[in-house]
Amino acid sequence: MSARKPRLAMYWAASCGGCEVSLLNIGEKLAALGDAVELVFCPCLADFKLADVQALPDGAIDLCLFNGAVRNSENRQMAYLLRRKSALLVAYGSCAHEGCAPGLANLTTAAAIRETVYRGGPSTDNPAAVVPAEISQVPEGTLELPVLYDTVLTLDQVENVDYYLPGCPPESPRVAEAIGGLVAALAGGAPLPPRGSVLGALETIVCEECPRKRLSRRVERFHRVHEVAPDPKACLLEQGLVCLGVATRGGCGALCPRVAMGCRGCYGAPPGVEDQGGRMVAAIAALTAAGDPEAGGARLREQVDAAMATVVDPAGTFYGYSLAHSLLRRARVTRKAGGEEGRG
């Protein structure tokens, strides 16, 4: 057992700040955690500088909670730096774990996003067509911005990750258990969980924690949330409302289905499932009753296709949190002559 307190760092890459809030949200346990560690880097909460981290010897940070996806060259460099400075690196939250909402950028390209945001957006007013440049010359010198990547990456696609803490953001009681447990083990010299473990989550799916009743009902079509008032007790999926609980790791307590919102999948794929979207295609297909086998080839295909067309935006819905970590990882984009981009 070492005399000094474990050194803790928390860093946000392409993230929203919700992960930092989930840590602050552990309530009275925060005081104990604050006492148990020495915070050495956390730009969201305290005024540390990059140079402070650079000055540390390699491996000097005992535990680094890295949240956010790797979306640009600065995120990439910070992942590189923090991996070297940290003994344990945790992919904290869905963005670092599986790409989360930033990962949906993988359905398009950086250039197309820049165009929409700075020029094409319905509320954009930019007559001079000012677009941020990676390098700008100003009287004071040269300004540089990070390079925006076409493909959003997860932390484990760029550096070795020791532990994963899923969720968008991770549920605070789970954070308290998982991070509190790691800090206690570090401080007391107790054994750590095996490298690569998923912490603060279950080995089962969200449905296992969901109080809604499944009755093996099948559906003819799917609905969007504003189109129907769901039965308060029955499984949402069996009412034709897309719910990713069947394809999502439990641990959140099924918060969303409890309040009649289908699970969006933020805890990621459960053990044994490589691709949340693929699993959802299978689940939705198994639930759909459409298609009369007597109707014969072409008519049968039309009926089934019409039912599946009621699932709006399958890629965005089934991979809302895991696209960057899915089997295909991004959409295919072809560059046509003249620099125009199109899908396929």
Binding site: T109, Y149, D150, D275, P293, L300
Partner: protein, 164 residues
């Protein structure tokens, strides 16, 4: 160089064939030398309804130019309605793949009877011709590696040592 290689290489089709109809048809087509292109890598499954969407995604990611799922005709499934399950999966998977920029010709579902060797060979030949016209997919290299589409010059860059 990429172009030259692309046109010289026969398209790779991963074929998931149900053991009861499609596999027998494929076998008979092979015995009869019914001439279907050597593009297809057959994988025998007990039922087309057994083909998980993940299998198709993995085949596309790992180098297939196309995936063919073949099962018995509607009403003739050995497991009553496994082929209907396959159709429901397939219809949704195609909509998903549209959003990934995968052309519809690259993933196909066909129904063949055990005795329809010639029809099966023709379906494979037709698909191979369609894939030849589309060109190679090679997801790992061309989409994720950024080759071809010219994506991700930035992603490939080795990070500067930020600690320097």
């Amino acid at each position: 160089m990429d172009q030259a290689q692309g046109s010289a290489r026969e398209p790779v089709i991963v074929g998931f064939l149900c053991a009861w109809c499609a596999y027998l048809a494929a076998d008979a087509a092979g015995m009869a030398r019914a001439g279907h292109t050597p593009s297809m890598r057959p994988i025998r499954v007990m039922c087309s309804g057994r083909v998980e969407p993940e299998f198709v995604l993995r085949a596309l990611r790992d180098g297939a130019d196309g995936v063919l799922i073949a099962g018995c005709h509607p009403g003739a499934c050995h497991y009553v309605d496994g082929n209907l399950k396959a159709l429901r999966r397939f219809a949704l998977l195609q909509r998903l793949l549209d959003q990934f920029g995968v052309e519809r010709e690259r993933v196909q579902l066909v129904w063949v009877g055990a005795a329809e060797a010639a029809a099966f060979a023709a379906a494979v030949d037709r698909m191979a011709a369609q894939l030849r016209a589309l060109g190679p997919l090679r997801w790992d290299e061309r989409v994720l590696g950024g080759e071809g589409a010219g994506l991700d010059a930035g992603n490939a860059a080795v990070p500067e040592d930020a600690s320097a």
